[in-house]
Amino acid sequence: MFRTPEGKDIFVVDGHTHFWDGSPENQKNIHGKQFIDCFYAYHTGMSPKDQLWEKSKFEKYSADDLYRDLFIDGPDDMAIVQSTYLKDFYKNGFNTIERNAEVAKRYPERFIVNGAFDPRDGEKALEYIHFLKETYDIKGVKMYTAEWNGASKGWKLTDPDAYKCFELCDKLGIRNIHVHKGPTILPLSKDAFDVHDVDHAATDFQGLNWIIEHCGLPRLDDFCWIATQETNVYGGLAVALPFIHARPRYFGEVIAELLFWIGPEKILFGSDYAIWTPRWLVEKFWAYQIPDDIAAERGVQLTDEIKEKILGLNAARLYNIDIAAKKTALASSPFSIAAE
């Protein structure tokens, strides 16, 4: 729960968190090392200095660290923990659903565990989606189109195999498709951040919600255009929000564009833990105002009411969270970590 300086309680759903193991012991090859190094560079490049972690903790943190940073020291009420396997890079995977489900079991009521699959696995991917639904009753998945798989260096949401998977998700009621839109490698001759496959997939699967993490940045204009046309496309603020510290004016331009184009109902807060921790992000976000000239040019304001939607109400709607019931359930959850 985040209590504002005015004393109001804000329900916070952290739409994008991880519980990973990127430690050298788990790295399979140079790609695994480079992957966690890249995350660590994001962490060191954009966090306030007093929030920096040592590399070894960043590579592998405990379930208690996660719980404390999100819910005790941090303002989150609930967190969506995403699965990203990267089995070509890590011996036991980077953050598998098994690892995520374990932490969710240890701390009930707090986590929504999302699955992941790789459409390039064909029939096996379909079987795996059934398994995920039956075993973990997942409500959402995280798609990572830049993941390598043997000779393949990336895939698109519009690939025929991907469509078969989304048809199954639709049928099984796995409604929330989080898509990391980052640099896919294929095809090499195109702009690697292309988001147009989202447009087609969202049109063809109206029953699914498409949450585009990082708001498609650096293709914000394309993303906004698509999200404006498609009622079922949402934007996740992970990676965009940390700019609030290093370059607050720039963050103002981004959030003004989002509010102008897609509106306050379709933007979701996400810390991208453990790249960043939610406390400073939420505190700075609550205190933030869009600079006057930018707000005037776009005719938008970031009011308290809008902030509350972005911080939790929008995600609660997508995941059918009954906030009043949840508050009651959480009242009995631990507010300190028991000694081991």
């Binding site: 994001y42 490698i185 914000l220 965009a240």
Partner: protein, 266 residues
């Protein structure tokens, strides 16, 4: 008569000036300002060695290629026509790119299997358009800030543009760069044609300038996102390279326990 030292000094200046004209196509910022040229030295016989490092191992190989191709072309322009070696470090496709560059291969040759199209023409065009728009936005906003009316700005021809004054800053920096982009885009334009037109060559009506600027802002917001991220990542990567036994560790650097070292001057 010029001494050997001054010849070498002049050549070094020329080398950095040429490299400074190569842009990261995606960011439209000089690779030297982004810190991607980690080392550029002349050996005793006048040949040149360049070490090139991008912010992450994962930077798109097509962007890497475009930049290295730019470096190759810049080095071909040097007045003393030196032999040169360009090396890309710590990139997932470093080996393929280095081998291909050394053999003078095209992008399609190097990545025949991974590249669907055989050339990067369309991608280059996209980047040219983005650079044009970003530069134009900076100058338009600068002129507005300088107190010119929208009518005066949109009525400007090239002679008027050339004498227009701007406060030091982003707009002043982009003014000659917009001029270059304009002339590259419209080589047949007349000197008295308006300077501010759309990428398609349409005049911008005064009433439409606000909407036009909003569109340009969108382009810049994307480019700046990459630019800021790349700078942050690049900085971190440099710091990590400095970790040597007995030397300050990465944490020392990020906790600001080590005095900052000046960036290489250009």
């Amino acid at each position: 008569m010029a001494t050997a030292a001054s010849v070498s000094g002049n050549r070094e200046k020329e080398l950095w000036r040429c490299l400074g004209e190569v842009n990261d196509p995606e960011l439209d910022e000089p690779i030297t300002e982004m810190g991607f040229v980690e080392r550029a030295v002349m050996t005793g016989d006048g040949s040149v060695e360049i070490d090139f490092r991008l912010p992450t191992y994962w930077c798109s190989p097509n962007f890497a290629f475009l930049m290295l191709d730019g470096v190759r072309k810049a080095l071909d322009q040097l007045s003393w026509s030196p032999a040169y070696r360009v090396k890309l470090h710590d990139h997932m496709f470093a080996e393929e790119v280095n081998r291909g560059m050394a053999a003078g291969k095209t992008f399609g040759d190097i990545f025949a299997e991974l590249a669907e199209d055989q050339d990067l023409g369309a991608l280059r065009d996209t980047f040219r358009m983005k650079a044009f728009k970003r530069r134009q936005e900076a100058v338009l906003r600068g002129l507005r800030q300088h107190g010119l009316t929208d009518r005066e700005i949109l009525g400007m021809d090239l002679p008027a543009y050339d004498v227009a004054r701007l406060e030091a800053g982003e707009a002043a920096k982009q003014k000659p760069r917009y001029r270059a982009a304009l002339i590259e885009r419209f080589p047949g334009r007349r000197a008295d044609d308006p300077v501010f037109v759309t990428w398609e060559g349409q005049r911008i009506p005064t009433a439409a300038l606000g909407a036009h600027l909003a569109e340009l802002r969108g382009v810049r917001v994307n480019m700046e996102f990459n630019g800021a991220l790349c700078r942050g990542l690049k900085q971190t990567r440099y710091k990590e390279l400095d970790v040597v036994d007995g030397e300050p560790t990465l944490v020392d650097f990020i906790m600001d326990r080590v005095p900052a070292r000046a960036a290489p001057t250009v």
